[in-house]
């Protein structure tokens, strides 16, 4: 187990270093000058040069990389070119929106997907299965921005139960903040739930065909007990893997939903920073996400051991 963990850790560190190089190099190559973007069409070449100097953009590339990477090691993410505030502050402001949103969406999608998957698998090939999987197919196919707009028109414009967008901040109270995250969480969760339900179903169907399930049934265990205790647990590995991937996606891959609900989340911060060539923000946030993905994968690896006792011995 320890050797396994150490190996995973070493891989994680190497991944981080390589990712930092790739991220930095890619953003170095894309055309666009943050100083020119800030000063606009009427600025002279001298002025742009002056601002580039002030921003520290004129230092050699290698030096800037080392400076940035060195800063990351001491958890100093640098200062945003456009906002001229520490990047870490920007990230913190956005994480208080993105993290609860991602967790809510993840919880919702799990709560919907697992029972649907169970239901479908246990009625494999029957009408209930066909209807449930048809609905899941629809859930995957419907574009989430359209679904989000329908939710807004129904619950915000017509029924006026929740705000149609925006985020009042946690300072406005927990309830209003959660309320404003509810529709986006539903919009995010539905397609994810659809995918997860299909994965749960197919994993379960596979497990239900195993010999030990027949044995369990043969020794007289009730079907329900077999399904929950023997089958579901063994089907969890692909489900947990998908969940891990979904979490990473939900953290920053939600630019479209954040735009539709005008939420100040991490995805929009990155999107805006790319447009304004606020490279240091893009670089730092992308590195944070790389780190988050690595940590989540690590947790997923650990959870395999929880789900599957055989892995604990290794």
């Amino acid at each position: 187990m320890t050797a396994y963990l150490l190996k995973r850790l070493a891989i994680a560190v190497v991944t981080l270093v390589l990712a930092s190089m790739v991220v930095f190099a890619v953003l170095e190559i894309i055309p666009g000058d943050p100083a020119r973007l800030m000063l606009g069409l009427n600025a002279s070449a001298d002025q742009i040069e002056l601002l580039r100097n002030q921003m520290g953009l004129n230092a050699p590339v290698v030096l800037r990389y080392l400076h940035w990477a060195g800063g990351l090691l001491s958890l100093d993410f640098g200062r945003s070119y456009t906002y001229s505030v520490p990047v870490i502050d920007l990230v913190r402001e956005r994480l208080v929106v993105s993290l609860p949103l991602a967790l809510m969406a993840l919880a919702l999608s799990t709560i919907i997907a697992i029972p649907v998957g169970l239901f479908s698998a246990s009625r494999h090939g029957r009408a209930g299965d066909t209807i449930a999987m048809g609905a899941a197919q629809l859930g995957v196919a419907v574009p989430n921005f359209w679904f989000a707009l329908m939710l807004i028109y129904l619950f915000a414009v017509w029924l006026r139960l929740v705000p149609g967008g925006g985020f009042p901040g946690w300072s406005a109270g927990v309830l209003p903040a959660l309320k404003s995250l509810l529709l986006p969480a539903v919009a995010l969760a539905l397609p994810q739930a659809a995918i997860l339900a299909r994965v749960t179903r197919s994993a379960l169907i596979e497990v239900l065909n195993e010999d030990y399930i027949r044995t369990a049934r043969a020794k007289g265990l009730p079907y329900r007990l077999v399904l929950w205790r023997h089958a579901l647990r063994n089907a969890m590995i692909p489900v947990v893997t998908i969940l891990g991937l979904q979490f990473a996606f939900l953290l920053a891959g939600t630019i479209i939903i954040e735009n539709v609900f005008y939420l100040p989340g991490l995805g929009r911060l990155v999107f805006q920073a790319i447009n304004q060539r606020d490279l240091i923000v893009v670089e730092s946030v992308v590195m944070l996400l790389v780190a988050a993905v690595i940590v989540v994968n690590f947790i997923v690896d650990l959870s395999y051991a929880v789900v599957d006792p055989r892995l604990r011995g290794r």
């Binding site: 894309i30 055309p31 666009g32 000058d33 020119r36 973007l37 800030m38 000063l39 606009g40 069409l41 009427n42 600025a43 002279s44 002025q47 002056l50 601002l51 002030q54 456009t82 906002y83 001229s84 505030v85 920007l90 402001e93 956005r94 921005f145 707009l149 807004i152 028109y153 915000a156 414009v157 017509w158 029924l159 006026r160 705000p163 149609g164 967008g165 925006g166 985020f167 901040g169 735009n259 539709v260 609900f261 005008y262 939420l263 100040p264 989340g265 929009r268 911060l269 805006q272 447009n275 304004q276 060539r277």
Partner: protein
């Protein structure tokens, strides 16, 4: 479901009736599409900065009014010497900054000197180029001496980039702006909203609103439900394509006004075959402005024939010079030796006027044998490739700076246009402050540009505002990009 809706509607109605019985509202939520990168109008070109702060938080010596006129602001009056080089500004007294410090002539000198200093990163440094020196005569009087007379000096001092700031707070205005205006800055929730509240010790006419929140809503599809649900009560700059969804709703007013945005098909004048006058004229003849306006601005733009806003006093209508005429265009191409047409690229920045307009223009130019390859670019790429490196054939962009016909005389500007006769007109214009003479010169300048078919002049970008029908005092036109809230109030 129906019953539910009835009950809910009744509850909402009761609530609404309860509030309207009280005094008129004093709060307002305004939707804006772009978030300002920071809140210092003297340190960035982003229009979003002025959209929040101009006239509300910051004030200048002069200011630009709702129809583009120059009005006194912190300077209550001024006198100009006979040679047009010395301006003496008489300042309002009893004016305080939001942090409680006094405003006086020293702040004016500080602000102007800071903006024109060698290490200044003011995005419109050119506005201050004519200033020779700024002197404090007494706390309420400032004397500005120019190197040469400048016709547009008072207008220049009304730009957002020329607002007066205090030395104590100038460096922190990006995060916490401190000005002299009727509203003071309260809070900026990044990515979400910026809130201003009424300033208690304002020197001028008191404002009606107690609180104004600018909410950032980048997506046009999200703007409509935000209005319909009442979350946002005004979108001063609304997406023209979404107007149809709110036009017939009596709760809202749709106000179509003018801007200073000349939307043009820019041409690289040095790049063959565009260096030939006939080729550029052929392009102008091939353009069907009506079709472009219908397709790219929901039919709301006003056609232009040169680089001047139709709302301007100096505007000359030159749209008749190159009417849509495919035959004539083909003839001109033949004269230029290009009867078989040619290939070129059209780089399009992100705004819908460019992306939609580009497709229409590409199909119109195909009719005369010009085969355009459309290349969509982001703003950063556009600035880099097109504007700075001049690596382009054609592009579509709206030049939104007010009174910016002089860009065609700038050396090394991305049009690559060079006409000494035009430069001479602009040079003379810069030295002239007599209104009538300026109008004549501006007219000449417009004619030269149209004759040379420097670019394809398309239309003036419309300003489409949508707001609650009970709201009054928002600007109809956009002579500058600002949301002046000083006269805004709710009526019953």
């Amino acid at each position: 479901m129906k019953l539910w809706k009835t009950i809910l509607a009744a509850a909402a109605l009761a609530l609404a009736a309860g509030t309207s019985a009280m005094a008129a509202r004093t709060d307002l939520v305004i939707g804006i599409t772009l978030e300002p990168p920071h809140l210092d109008p003297t340190a960035g070109a982003a229009a979003a900065i002025d959209e929040v702060l101009y006239a509300n938080v910051f004030e200048g010596l002069t200011r630009i009014g709702p129809n583009g006129e120059v009005l006194p602001d912190l300077a209550e009056s001024w006198s100009i010497s006979d040679d047009g080089k010395v301006y003496i500004f008489k300042l309002h007294t009893g004016v305080k900054f939001h942090d409680g410090t006094d405003f006086n002539a020293d702040d004016v000198k500080f602000s102007l000197d800071r903006a024109r200093a060698e290490n200044s990163v003011n995005a419109q440094k050119g506005l201050f180029a004519a200033i020779d020196k700024v002197e404090v005569v007494d706390p309420a009087t400032v004397k500005v001496t120019l190197k040469n007379p400048q016709g547009s000096f008072l207008y220049n001092m009304g730009w957002g980039d020329a607002v007066i700031v205090a030395p104590e707070t100038a460096d922190t205005n990006k995060e916490k702006p401190v000005g002299t205006g009727p509203f003071k800055f309260q809070n900026w929730a990044k990515g979400s909203s910026i809130t201003l509240v009424k300033s208690d010790n304002y020197w001028g006419a008191p404002v009606f609103l107690d609180k104004a929140e600018f909410r950032i809503i980048p997506d046009a599809a999200a703007a409509v439900p935000a209005l319909l649900s009442g979350d946002v009560q005004a979108f001063p700059f609304f997406d023209p394509d979404s107007v149809a969804q709110v036009k017939d709703d009596p709760r809202f007013k749709v106000v179509i006004g003018s801007t200073e945005g000349e939307t043009i098909l820019s041409i690289n004048n040095k790049k063959p075959p565009f260096d030939k006058l006939q080729v550029r004229q052929a392009i102008s003849f091939a353009l069907d402005r009506k079709a472009i306006i219908d397709g790219a601005s929901a039919g709301l733009g006003v056609p232009i024939g040169s680089h001047m806003s139709p709302a301007s006093k100096a505007y000359v209508d030159l749209t008749g010079l190159y009417p849509h005429n495919v035959e004539k265009a083909k003839e001109l191409l033949k004269e230029a030796g290009l009867e078989n047409g040619f290939k070129a690229t059209l780089k399009l920045p992100p705004p819908s006027y460019a992306r939609l307009g580009g497709e229409i223009i590409a199909s119109e130019l195909r009719e005369i044998g010009v085969d355009l390859e459309i290349i969509p670019v982001e703003w950063a790429q556009w600035l880099d490739q097109v504007f700075t490196k001049k690596d382009y054939d054609l592009t579509i962009v709206s030049h939104t700076e007010p009174n910016d016909i002089d860009i065609y005389s700038r050396k090394d500007y991305y049009f690559n246009y060079d006409n000494p006769a035009f430069d001479k007109i602009i040079e003379e214009l810069n030295l002239t402050s007599d209104e009538a003479k300026r109008t004549t010169l501006l007219g000449e300048a417009q004619k030269v540009l149209a004759d040379d078919a420097v670019v394809g002049f398309l239309y003036e970008l419309p300003k489409v505002g949508v707001w609650d029908a009970k709201l009054q005092g928002l600007w109809e036109n956009a002579p500058i990009q600002a949301n002046d809230l000083t006269k805004v109030k709710w009526t019953d």
